[in-house]
């Protein structure tokens, strides 16, 4: 793992994912990709763009709209010695194929007492903000992270995206790789420029299970992942103008969860805000708060806060959706209400 940012290659997440896959496919014939529209189209989100031309339709394999069969097949191929990558076009579609993932892929290592590994990567698009409504805009981070046996990652920028994809492909376990549509660098989705960063051409990995302090600060810790990191960074900028120094932690992985980094940061700042575009209840935000408070509640100077998506289906209308999404202003507000000691109404 090297963090060689002496490069002027600014890649989008889409391109850095494709590059990681390409490099892995070049060096390992057991790596291949399956999914809907990943061949000629190059993936709806561009993650396999150019790969069909290079590797052909056997290894860049369009599938029927049969997620149960082809994700099941991914599990079977992984157990048989391949390193398949499969794309589930939107995470919202897990309802038609979740069994293959959490009841087979994620558990067969355990059920077999380690005889059988399932080295597969499931990459899937998450997130909203572009008016795709309630069946195409969810994050469902904790829906995966709650189930044992899979690793779960979600990058916030192209550098991490490449390193995490490499690590995911080399990992001997199922890895759920959740990429946020608003960070992909596909202009038609309205992209966050901060996600497009310097990304070395060389292959490198980022260890799964390590969070990163992406901005240091002393007054409050803002924890997020994927789009939430950018909201947090913007909020930190705003807070800085009022003299508040915010530390921002990019979780990067949900499983394994780097509890130490979060705890250490809060031990320093004494305050915690969690940003999560997933639904508020029974999710990432609760887990982070519980992690910090069960460890040592005395480290917190104020009640923790969450800035999350409300517990409602995601609405279509842009003004509705934007009203519900986390953003920098809501984080700033959360900080202010936190230091005032206002109670969160239930």
């Amino acid at each position: 793992m090297s963090e060689d940012l002496n490069t002027d290659r600014h890649l989008t997440i889409a391109r850095s994912m494709a590059e990681a896959i390409e490099q892995q496919m070049e060096s390992d014939p057991n790596v291949f990709v399956m999914g809907e529209d990943i061949a000629a189209l190059g993936g709806v989100y561009g993650n396999t763009r150019g790969l069909l031309e290079k590797f052909g339709p056997e290894r860049i394999r369009n599938t029927p709209i049969s997620e149960t069969a082809f994700i099941g097949a991914t599990v079977g191929a992984a157990q048989d010695g391949m390193r398949p990558i499969v794309e589930l076009m939107f995470v919202d579609f897990i309802g038609v194929c979740f069994d293959a993932i959490y009841n087979n892929g994620a558990k067969n290592n355990y059920f077999s007492g380690g005889q059988i590994n399932v080295p597969m990567v499931l990459m899937t698009a998450v997130g909203g903000g572009y008016s795709d409504a309630g069946q195409h805009s969810q994050c469902l981070y904790s829906t995966f992270a709650h189930m044992p046996g899979m690793k779960v990652v979600s990058p916030s920028n192209a550098y991490d995206a490449k390193g995490l994809m490499n690590a995911a492909i080399r990992d001997d376990n199922p890895v759920i790789y959740m990429f946020h549509k608003g960070l992909q660098g596909m202009g038609w989705l309205g992209t966050e420029p901060g996600a497009t960063v310097a990304t070395p051409e060389d292959s490198y990995t980022i260890e799964i299970g390590k969070a990163k302090v992406v901005r240091e600060g002393t007054d409050v810790t803002i924890v997020g992942l994927a789009m939430g990191v950018h909201d947090a960074l913007k909020a930190a900028d705003k807070l800085a103008t009022t003299g508040v120094s915010a530390e921002v932690v990019d979780l990067r992985s949900l499983v394994p969860l780097d509890r130490e980094t979060v705890i250490e940061s809060v031990a320093k700042t004494g305050r915690l805000i969690v940003v999560d575009e997933d639904y508020n209840s029974y999710g990432v935000s609760g887990e982070i708060i519980a992690t910090v408070t069960e460890h040592d509640i005395s480290k917190l100077k104020a009640s923790p806060r969450r800035v999350t998506y409300p517990d409602i289906p995601i609405p279509f209308s842009r003004h509705f959706e934007q009203f519900c999404m986390p953003n920098a202003d809501k984080i700033v507000d959360a900080y202010q209400s936190m230091v005032k000691g206002a109670a969160v109404s239930v």
């Binding site: 809907e36 529209d37 061949a39 000629a40 189209l41 709806v44 369009n62 599938t63 029927p64 709209i65 049969s66 997620e67 149960t68 919202d92 579609f93 309802g95 038609v96 903000g129 572009y130 008016s131 795709d132 409504a133 309630g134 069946q135 195409h136 202009g187 038609w188 989705l189 309205g190 409300p310 517990d311 409602i312 289906p313 609405p315 279509f316 209308s317 842009r318 003004h319 509705f320 959706e321 934007q322 009203f323 519900c324």
Partner: protein, 328 residues
């Protein structure tokens, strides 16, 4: 059973309404999205799947349906919604995300629901099929009239729900008809690369139900096949499967560059656009003269213009309204 003259005129006018509605939606869709296409901008943000070219399916089937009959539709359902009688003003307003929309802007173009005419959608492939069985079961259990029609694409015919629903419907002899709109493509994946048989209609035999195939987007043949199967369902004789060869004149969604389409395919399809074909048929068979056709077109246009004006003029709901209607 051939369509009556008034049915033919209704079919034509409805196809025209659907086509004209989408033409204007398509234009408005690009407002605020040029020169750099960004889905999030403009009065109609988000994905937009057009049904132009597939209008014959909608009218051929819905010509046999009453308000009380149930339709479950997909991500591509403007034509069906219009043919089923969904309130066009409120539908347009929903697509704009306005308070006067069918659901006040909560659902948008992929989630059009109109309880008055028992119309609903799901954007998840093939997942309207189970609910259609349930609506049919509901009628059967309550001894109440009505059939359910579930529309899907040919890509959806490879989804597990297809199999389970056809088996359940046949087993329980439910008054439901499954209609496959085979437009040859599931996004960028051709039917040949997704489907192990040439004709999905043959799959009906695996459930002991009749399977029909209708060639070449022919509204009259669709009307006939739908009539036969819907009558059968109403008589309590059980479900059927209809596969209809139709054509997607646009991309999968707006913004789709369609690089995957073989050269010449689109030109060939436009050459057999069903709408001019239908008006020609009306003329040729003497159901309408040029003036009558123009009149039907004008009516269609009027409805569309009115709906769009209604949508444009409507307000957005206050933003906190987003939090309502989660529970009954």
């Amino acid at each position: 059973m051939k369509p009556s003259k008034s049915t033919l005129l209704w079919m034509y006018e409805t196809m025209e309404t659907s086509r004209r509605f989408e033409e204007i939606i398509a234009k408005i869709y690009f407002e605020g999205k040029t020169p750099a296409f960004n889905m999030t901008n403009g009065p109609i943000p988000g994905e937009m799947h057009l049904s132009n070219g597939q209008e014959p399916v909608a009218v051929g089937v819905c010509a046999h349906l009453a308000k009380g009959d149930v339709v479950t539709a997909t991500h591509r359902s403007h034509h069906q919604a219009i043919a089923k009688g969904v309130d066009l003003n409120r539908m347009a307003a929903e697509i704009f995300g306005k308070e006067t929309g069918l659901s006040g802007g909560r659902g948008g173009h992929m989630h059009l629901f109109d309880a008055n005419v028992n119309f609903g959608c799901s954007g998840i492939i093939a997942q309207g099929m189970g609910p259609a069985c349930g609506a049919a079961l509901s009628r059967k259990l309550r001894n109440q009239a009505g059939v359910a029609v579930s529309f899907i694409g040919e890509g959806a015919a490879n989804q597990g729900a297809f199999h389970e629903s056809l088996n359940l419907a046949a087993l329980w002899k439910l008054p439901v008809v499954f209609v496959i709109e085979d437009n040859g493509w599931g996004v960028s994946v051709s039917k040949e690369s997704s489907t192990s048989v040439e004709r999905n209609s043959v799959r009906a035999a695996g459930y002991g139900m009749p399977g029909h195939f209708v060639e070449d987007n022919d509204p009259i043949a669709i009307y006939e096949a739908a009539g036969e199967t819907i009558a059968r369902a109403r008589e309590g004789k059980g479900p059927s499967l209809i596969e209809i060869e139709t054509y997607r004149l646009a991309g999968h969604f707006m913004g789709d560059a369609e690089g995957y389409r073989p050269e010449g395919e689109k030109d060939a399809l436009f050459a057999k656009d069903p709408i001019p074909q239908m008006s020609k048929l009306l003329l040729d068979e003497g159901h309408a003269d040029e003036a009558a056709i123009a009149e039907l077109q004008a009516t269609a246009q009027r409805r569309v213009d009115e709906a769009i004006a209604f949508a444009r003029e409507s307000e957005y709901a206050p933003e906190e309204e987003a939090l309502t209607s989660v529970f009954a």
